[in-house]
Symmetry: C2
Subunit: 147 residues, 2 copies
Amino acid sequence: MATSPLTIGELSARSGVATSALRYYEELGLITAERTTGNQRRYRRATLRRVAFIRSAQRVGLTLDEIAEALATLPEGRTPTKADWARLSHGWRPRIDAQIERLERLREKLDGCIGCGCLSLRTCALQNPDDVVATRGPGAVYLEPGA
Amino acid sequence: MATSPLTIGELSARSGVATSALRYYEELGLITAERTTGNQRRYRRATLRRVAFIRSAQRVGLTLDEIAEALATLPEGRTPTKADWARLSHGWRPRIDAQIERLERLREKLDGCIGCGCLSLRTCALQNPDDVVATRGPGAVYLEPGA
DNA sequence: AGTTGACCTCAACCTCACTTGAACTTGCAG
DNA sequence: CTGCAAGTTCAAGTGAGGTTGAGGTCAACT
């Protein structure tokens, strides 16, 4: 198998992540690259999986900072194994569960409120959610626009 | 009946929204205020409900632009009725449903992937969600390079 | 009348996750 | 060798939803 390093364009094409984003990830320390004599980035194949992890983690709702923290726990010096990746993503499930639960509570409240149109600050459950949160993350948290 | 207008501080205290945010809402045209001779804002009581609507709508995931659009459909010249508010929030339920569904699909995929730790770009379902992009904060110019 | 706190405007700044543009260099095909 | 796509850096911009600060005014209490 040809395990030649990837150019940034190749990594971008294969990961679906823009080159500008890849440089940005590097700036944040999420990924690294060797350089050619001409200063161009060359990525190890393992970076492909690393980027895949980043995107998956984002989809689950983690910020890049949190992802960086997670990636920092990976063993240095050797290519991470499947077990390493599985360990990192282990905590995602409860996160998704929590998000779903949050939305279900909101839906319940909406059912109770929608008919009355009250929106009263004192009495309307919609106005007094027991969860505050308002997580700002990509994808996972927000509702689809224009639905 | 003392239906005296509210100062911005009072509106803030009763709505739980910071004064800076209330001024920002006014700038966006979401709310309006009379002014005293000394140029201070005085809000009608109805504004309290309007702010309540805004916060509820935000919690459901609408942007302030979308909320402004919705509010623009309210009848001018008279205080909105409960029916008006109910009409506006009618579309929220499907939105929440859609979001929950999306997360449930993600959770299913995670269940399939978590054990293997693969995160393969070709084969891992987590990497190939059937719902694309959905919501990124900066919603505009977002072309997937390879797609 | 004085003091204090609430209020005013306007501009600048914040976070997050990037993108865009300018100006320049490398790498490779013909 | 030429041409050009693809790479480089750095700075600045984007968008949502605000906050913060400076510098000044207003309103209420004593």
